[in-house]
Symmetry: C2
Subunit: 203 residues, 2 copies
């Protein structure tokens, strides 16, 4: 049997109608594993970049130190990225175990758990980026109407590193969006079984 | 035939295996319609609350006027809520038409379109709330380390109305999250058909 014919139905599988489904399933699981690995790495990178970022400035013999805890949104960003990295690590283990055992995900409670977790993580990441990006805009451009000054003029190096952290988080977020799409697919296709008696070649 | 027996399988449907599916489908569509109506109303409310919010303050004979365009995140919030209201209105029409015609959603391109639209709207709403909430925190508590002052001490009435707008947006967002779950369900269960030949009573 050819494993090269991806997307082509072999046609000699006796019991299982869903040979296409199996091929798609293998691809989907591989994509999920890759994305989760990317998320884990980039989330960790973002958290480290922001959390280790400091800059000391001397103004008239007074030393002022900028650090990420000065801004709540950066603390939120670090925490969310940390949670995302840990969560993805657990999910990677789960993916690997399920790939080694070769079992398809036909377990509804587990599918619901993964779906809910992914949804929660994705929305948290989006919210954290929204808040951090807003803070970054204030820091970079100030808000003249409110007399909030551009602190990035003072702490240039600090701001750049935070910017890199936010950029990394944006990639985390984009990957999370795709992953939560995949987990929605894995969950809700379990609810499509009844249609099969009418249109068994539904793909 | 009884239409009261929601959740109970009538058992006298000859061709269609999925009589449970039909009942669930009716409920899901009703829930979707209600949620979309709530979203449309609350998003409009949020947009109007924030957009019409102004406060004039006199400081040493200089008149200062606070309005939502002073803060980019509030402009973003108004725009996103406006789009959400318009989008939901179109979706309400679609729901009503599909309920009147009694057709189930077995059209994959349309399901993909609705799913994508809902995902986009949900993430935009979450990001807008993240940014607006961050701005609100700065406005309310200031950021002493950065010498950003608490402008809500000056514009109390303005801030309260913005707060109401954000609260309304939070409800919009929560409803959008559920709606995008529903549209994910509607889309991805279309991909579960192949399993039917093995477990036709899969519910």
């Amino acid at each position: 049997m050819s494993y090269l014919g991806v997307g082509v139905s072999p046609g000699n599988v006796p019991v299982y109608h869903g040979s296409d489904l199996k091929v798609v399933d293998r691809r989907v699981r591989l994509a999920e594993l890759i994305l989760r690995t990317v998320i884990c790495g980039l989330a960790l990178l973002a958290a480290v970049l922001v959390a280790t970022d400091t800059q000391v400035k001397e103004i008239f013999t007074i030393q002022k130190k900028a650090k990420f805890t000065d801004m709540k949104s950066l603390v939120f960003l670090v925490v969310v990225n940390g949670i995302a990295a840990a969560y993805s690590f657990v999910q990677i283990l789960r993916c690997v175990v399920s790939m080694v055992r070769g079992s398809l995900l036909f377990n509804k409670p587990l599918a619901w758990l993964i779906f809910s977790g992914d949804q929660l993580m994705t929305y948290m990441t989006v919210a954290a980026i929204g808040a951090a990006a807003q803070s970054a805009v204030f820091a970079k451009f100030g808000e003249p109407e409110l007399q909030w000054m551009k602190i990035c003029d003072m702490y240039g190096k600090f701001c750049n590193q935070v910017g890199e952290g936010i950029a990394s988080s944006v990639f985390v977020c984009a990957s999370m969006v795709i992953v939560s799409g995949i987990s929605a697919f894995s969950l809700f296709r379990l609810y499509g079984g009844n249609k099969g008696s009418k249109t068994s070649a539904g793909w």
